[in-house]
Symmetry: C2
Subunit: 670 residues, 2 copies
């Protein structure tokens, strides 16, 4: 087609296409196909519908946009650049996928302002979108007044075939339908191509029908390549339906415009090549050099800056009005958004003495959650259908359901992975919410991709995991974590805490809440079974990761190192060894991550190099413990799968008894 | 109701119910609700339809049964007992959920003959069922002749609401619909209760419509509590549809028969209590003591023994006929079933010299797979939509598709978790198939629950994982494994191998194939990027897990320990150190798991205690390496997330350069 025939909108859309084509070509790496096909829907959305302020990407009431098909990152970078965000300049686009750039291979919220969540692992983004929409629904129900709306935005998601094949998206979308999240609008880039070729090879289900089955409002734009009015009408229709989320299937051609590669897997994840880039330019009548954008285009797209300033100004006025009418609510809203904790919040955390009743740490966790709930109204979450096992209900606070979004107890259903990605989305809404998600510790395996993303993308989520060892008992090896703690401790930026009793549980929540407000996730591991409260445990101790619980006069002969339910074994074994004249130190180490981050002097004070006889005791695998017990140390651990039997029997049979700890300690002492 | 009015079938069904009620009550642990509600459908299935031989639970051509709702294990144990399996006696049932029993909390195929797959983690079983049905379809297409059918059985699955909420089931069922697996019949125990109460709190989607969207044949039995003929007719109708899998929604009452607890979450996962047990007995007119089964019932149900012997006899005749007509195919079939490898199979594995071209280990993996495919016709698998990145295509061998089940290249779609559970199902079909599933190493996070189950349940799968480090490059931190190897090494019974070059890749496949035949899974980690072939690497070395690649005269001053792509860095650094007069050993350690299993003498010979200056080099986290480097050693590792940049740049920036290895080594040498 000749350039003369191109409308301004077509020029804008081709600008997105060629920014993607040229950036991928320059990097010789990336995914041009999706941006080329999805540019029309993305442009219509960002140009005609979305409310955002390019000069303040964090403006609270902005519409949230998620590119769930994160490999098409150049689509998002092109939009950010065209619409006038400072975070992505044309120079940044030239640095696509290079070290230190603002334009990494997949969208990363912690690198590029204007990116809401980190996507790339497929299906996560749409599930994050469900979380974003839930956060909006909750805050709107909580803060808005009949005469004053301060929370009122849409969540838009572009997702692809890959996202729709992933189970995590199905889980989250089923819940979104159940909850009737009317302000969630997903545009499905239906290009029938995935990496292996046509989706015909593996994916022939009726996606629209599936979403209808979930309770979504479903629309179809048959020609997503050129029918801009059709796209716009569909988005309008989506907004008109307020009691259901909408999925707009937009049928497109991947790599639209490339004469030889459009509609093939060849354009999905590789540069077009110089020859095909030229042919595509000719085919689309694109007469501009790489990275050159027509003046008319920028003049048009940058109107978003003025528009956005206007949106924010209007909202600021509304907020001022709200403040005047509802000063108390406004103060709370502002504290939420500030990310600050209320003064003295942690005073509600209970402490215990050794005389207090033995309880499971999951029960202490329930107490903490319920003590915190009134002072931290930003605490919101629930369990993947194990509420009364995980003990995560906030009592008297109501269920988050359709039309009851002001409530804070979320039923995620048996959907661990969806729960994980939803919690990430709620945290990354950036409104101060502290989401928590709960299941049995073993089922972190189902949601590991989301837990990892919480750590990577600065999502301040609290993962509440109970039934943290073979002490779980009768459910047997499918339900008993062995390697689980080790595998979680290995994740960068994730703090794992396994408290020994009531005080350490309070300490664990203190850390977790503070970290959540710093946008860092924490995973808490709690026991199913009763544990005694121990003399000397403390909230402060947890904050150091490890600390001396029992000590001897002078240099110890041996150090017993325990976590969680096994600390009490160490204490009792230490008493017996001391009675036999040994010098014994017991170190409680609720969090290896936190301990590792202490200064060398503190670490040396707890685990002096001179003491080489060290025994770790944890009802999990030995993997990772050699760092703390050293070459001459030993572990009481389990390097096999568990077994179905009452929890106490499992503990005894697998060697978690005072006698066995004593025997192992004596072996070390020689 | 009075006992007199009970038909024999009702008595049989109540026998199942009360075995469950009484076993759970005795254990004071377990899940009576599902068996009480699902007993009618299970009984009709096992009594009227399923073909199996209780006295030979491994009879090849049996129908496969999977209790995907594994918490209802007593349903399955009751059936095994009633039908005359030797694996579950009444004494075993009395030992439900006790140490060492044959009746663990969830069905475990490695404990109880007659249990096909290990279930409990929800959604896995139905996905295993898809794998079982795919195995049957493949073997039937491969071996059956127009005049001789030796592979011909159904796969039946009972799944619950929880299974249907899990994404893994959606992934696998979407693929099953695509593949048109007509001999897969799933009975959905629609009891609308999960642990948190009514499914109304989180799960209100239209499940039947969703399965229709997947391309399934869907039926509904409205009264699954008493309408035995309705159940039977539905199963008949399911069998009549041969080009689609069938989902029969069977609406039931959880805890049917319990006057106060039926249709509540209270009966899901806890014993009824003595009072309610009595009331339930009264309500159902059950006049028998705990664990006492009426003679008439046993007389009827044990007919399964004779029936089963007949089925097997008929099949043996058919097999004999087949042998006579098709001796060559019969020999292959018998080798398949025997689990033996063909003589000399491993001779096809290529070896290399240091002069051979540098290639990515994923490319060597492709070569191995394609060398092995002709000699190992039992090798079948594919990738989760990354075929040409993982390089897992068996060339010229065709795609496993609807009506093309004889082929061996499976397109799993972007469904890692579904792929995992399907591969487990294919392996546990017990027919000698060696399934493999591939994706990027990082996406093991999506399928970890299935990988763990392969290790727990003796599923001889090969997990082919490529792009095994930050060397992955531009895709960035969402796609770059850091903690992934550590988290996988921590799983019991899973062998993880990360080969350094061509020879080690061949060695890795030798181990993996042999382990698969011993029903043990192996996970292989391959590089995206080119790696040089190293002098001294060997197939035999891999079999020891670790071995000396470069050595000095006399006791080394330092040992450099590398895996995979980092071994060559160690070799080059060693050359430089040697040139400077240092005594250096290089140990290649492709598998810590295998090395850990060697005898103490071998381990001492490779890593002598006397040499305390040790440096590990692996482009992953340090977690777990202290075991090998000791208290005085160090690691070249990455304890943060990666970054988007070309792979070589990432490697350099994160310290995986000869210079940095040298610097770290010199620091250790002092």
């Amino acid at each position: 087609m000749a350039v003369a025939t191109q409308s301004l909108e077509e020029l804008c859309i081709n600008s997105i296409r060629f920014l993607a084509v040229d950036a991928v070509q320059k990097a010789n790496s990336g995914h041009p196909g999706l941006p080329m096909g999805a540019a029309p829907m993305a442009f219509v959305l960002w140009d005609r519908f979305m409310r955002y302020n390019p000069k303040n990407p964090k403006w609270f009431n902005r519409d949230r946009f998620v590119l769930s098909a994160g490999h098409g990152s150049m689509l998002q970078y092109a939009l950010l650049y065209l619409m006038g965000y400072d975070s992505v300049t044309i120079e940044d686009i030239k640095q696509f996928r290079q070290w230190g750039s603002k334009t990494p291979g997949h969208p990363e919220n912690f690198v590029t302002a204007g990116v809401e969540v980190t996507t790339g692992p497929l299906g996560q983004g749409i599930a994050n979108g469900v979380g974003l929409a839930m956060a909006e629904a909750h805050l709107a129900a909580k803060f808005n007044k009949p005469d004053a709306k301060i929370v009122d935005h849409y969540t838009y998601v572009i997702l692809g075939d890959g996202c729709n094949m992933e189970g995590v998206s199905g889980e989250a979308c089923s819940l979104a339908g159940h909850l009737g999240l009317g302000k969630l609008i997903a545009l499905y880039d239906d290009n029938h191509i995935s990496i292996d070729g046509s989706t015909d090879v593996a994916f022939t289900e009726d996606v629209s029908k599936r979403f209808e089955a979930y309770g979504w409002h479903v629309l179809h734009v048959k020609d997503g390549n050129t029918d801009l009015e059709g796209i716009a009408k569909a988005i309008e229709a989506a907004k008109a339906v307020t009691d259901k989320p909408t999925m707009i299937k937009v049928t497109t051609t991947i790599g639209y415009g490339s004469p030889n590669k459009a509609n093939t897997a060849g354009v999905h994840g590789a540069a077009l090549g110089n020859d095909e880039v030229k042919l595509t330019r000719d085919n689309l009548g694109w007469q501009y050099e790489p990275f050159a954008i027509p003046e008319d285009v920028l003049k048009h797209t940058r109107k978003a800056v003025e528009r956005g300033a206007g949106y924010e100004e209007d909202w600021n006025k509304a907020l001022a009005d709200y403040k005047a009418k509802y000063p108390q609510e406004a103060a709370e809203f502002e504290r939420f958004v500030s990310g600050k904790l209320p003064d003295g919040w942690d005073k509600v955390l209970p402490t215990y003495t050794a005389e207090d009743k033995a309880l499971p740490t999951r029960k202490h966790s329930e107490t903490c959650l319920n003590k915190l709930a009134p002072v931290l109204p930003e605490l919101i979450g629930g369990s993947a259908d194990l509420t009364h096992s995980n003990l995560t209900e906030l009592k008297g606070i109501g269920e988050f359901q359709k039309g009851q979004y002001q409530n804070r107890n979320i039923h995620f259903g048996v959907r661990e992975h969806g729960m994980g990605a939803i919690c990430n989305g709620m945290a990354l809404h950036g409104s101060g919410l502290i989401p928590y998600g709960a299941t049995f510790l073993i089922f972190t395996d189902y949601m590991r991709a989301s837990i990892r993303l919480s750590a990577l993308s600065d999502a301040g989520v609290i993962w509440v995991m109970t039934h943290d060892s073979i002490g779980q008992g009768e459910d047997g090896p499918t339900h008993q974590p062995i390697e689980t703690l080790a595998s979680l401790r290995a994740i960068p930026n994730l703090t794992v805490i396994r408290p020994a009793d009531g005080n350490e549980t309070s300490g664990a929540y203190k850390v977790a809440i503070e970290k959540a407000k710093k946008n860092e996730p924490t995973l808490l591991a709690f026991s199913r079974q009763n544990l005694p409260n121990l003399a000397g445990t403390s909230i402060e101790g947890v904050a150091k990761g490890a600390y001396i619980l029992v000590d001897s006069d002078g240099t110890p002969d041996i150090i017993l190192i325990g976590t969680g339910s096994e600390v009490s074994l160490c204490v009792t074994a230490a008493e017996k060894l001391t009675a036999e004249g040994k010098k014994v130190r017991v170190v409680s180490i609720p969090s290896t991550d936190i301990f590792d981050a202490q200064d060398a002097a503190y670490k040396e004070s707890v685990l002096p190099k001179a003491v080489t006889k060290r025994l770790s005791v944890e009802a999990g695998c030995s993997f990772g413990w050699h760092k703390y017990v050293g070459a001459e140390g030993d572990t009481v651990s389990i390097d096999r799968f568990g077994a179905s039997a009452p929890g106490g029997v499992c503990m005894e049979k697998f060697g978690f008894s005072v006698d066995n700890v004593l025997a192992k300690a004596k072996e070390l002492l020689g």
